[in-house]
């Protein structure tokens, strides 16, 4: 592939284009099955999520729904958005902000029996620290005076 300088320049430009194209095609291939949609319980009830598909489910942890199984590390609870409910099962150490009546996002997939198998739980703070216009960034801290249960 000995080439004159002009030829070589053309080759290099083509290679640059190939790089960009390769990146785009590879990304498209990767994104097709591996991007996780965000759903609410109403979406799940409407059947928007396929069982086994990796998704995120956001809602509020229904009061009275948290059950710890006897192994001490598996927890079952219900996520609700006021209208629909989805039972969730998670094996692991829940984040500190996770509690009944508070918001949470479960990452995982819908099992065949209708229970959501969570591989990860993200807890949201229940106090709105900034109005939604500011981007819904929740505070990383709690206030001190919450009623003891």
């Amino acid at each position: 592939m000995i080439g004159k300088p002009k030829h070589q320049r053309l080759v290099l430009v083509v290679i640059a284009l190939v790089a960009v194209l390769a990146a785009v095609l590879l990304a498209m291939w990767g994104l097709r099955d591996r991007a996780a949609y965000f759903y609410t319980p109403a979406d799940i009830e409407a059947g928007k999520a396929q069982p086994g598909q990796s998704v995120r489910l956001g809602g509020m942890v229904e009061k009275g729904s948290v059950q710890r199984l006897s192994d001490g590390v598996t927890v079952r609870f219900v996520l609700t958005d006021g209208a629909a409910k989805v039972p969730v099962e998670f094996r692991g150490i829940v984040p500190d902000l996770f509690r009944e009546g508070s918001g949470a996002i479960a990452e995982g997939s819908l099992g065949s029996g209708g229970t959501f198998d969570a591989s990860n739980i993200l807890a949201k703070h229940d106090e709105r620290y900034m109005p939604p216009q500011m981007g819904n960034q929740s505070a990383e801290h709690q206030t001190a005076k919450t009623v003891a249960k």
Binding site: V13, F38, Y129, P131, G135
Partner: protein
């Protein structure tokens, strides 16, 4: 061929900047909005949250007049900033009913003494059951409920002064 090609990175930049501008104007929102809008409020009877101020029940919210139902707590920091706005709404003729979640009477009384008390009634919701039933997921949140007890609007977060006309208009429409 290399002529126009050299300008494609700029085109890409423009597209990306446009997307970023869109996102800045529409921040990511994983808030769970209430599914109860357009539906009747849940049945509830809440005891008085503070001595001297009546508690709140759902029947009182369906008396023919539109009302604002405001979820708050003495430990809620943005609620402090919102207090003048609620006072203003009350001054403009709206009825503001309060539901205090997971709170204590003495702290609530202090909060009201310090920040003002625009509430006609304040119900105590110590386990957020009523809050969840409304489809509210945090504080502060305000619902516009019409005369028949149907939820017409959910406002998430503290109401800003500029939003007072919009809230008033929503209450008007809820007659």
């Amino acid at each position: 061929m290399t002529g126009w090609l050299r300008f494609t990175p700029i085109v890409l930049l423009v597209l990306i900047v446009a997307a970023m501008l869109w996102r800045l104007a529409n921040p990511p929102d994983t808030t769970v909005h209430s599914q109860m809008i357009g539906k009747r409020i849940p049945q509830f009877v809440l005891a008085a949250a503070v001595p001297g101020v009546q508690g709140l029940s759902s029947t009182q919210l369906a008396d023919g007049k539109p009302k604002l139902v405001h979820f708050f707590a003495s430990w809620c920091v943005p609620c402090i900033g919102e207090a003048p706005v609620l006072d203003e709404l009350k001054k403009q003729g709206l009825t503001v009913e309060g539901i205090a979640i997971r709170d204590r009477p003495d702290e609530l009384a202090q909060f009201l003494a310090r920040n003002g008390d625009p509430f006609d009634r304040i119900g105590s919701d110590p386990e957020s059951k009523t809050q969840l039933a409304f489809g509210s997921s945090g504080v502060p949140e305000t619902f516009v409920v019409d005369g028949r007890g149907v939820i017409r609007l959910q406002h998430i977060g503290a109401i800003e002064a500029e939003e007072i006309p919009a809230i008033k208009a929503a209450a008007e429409q809820a007659r």
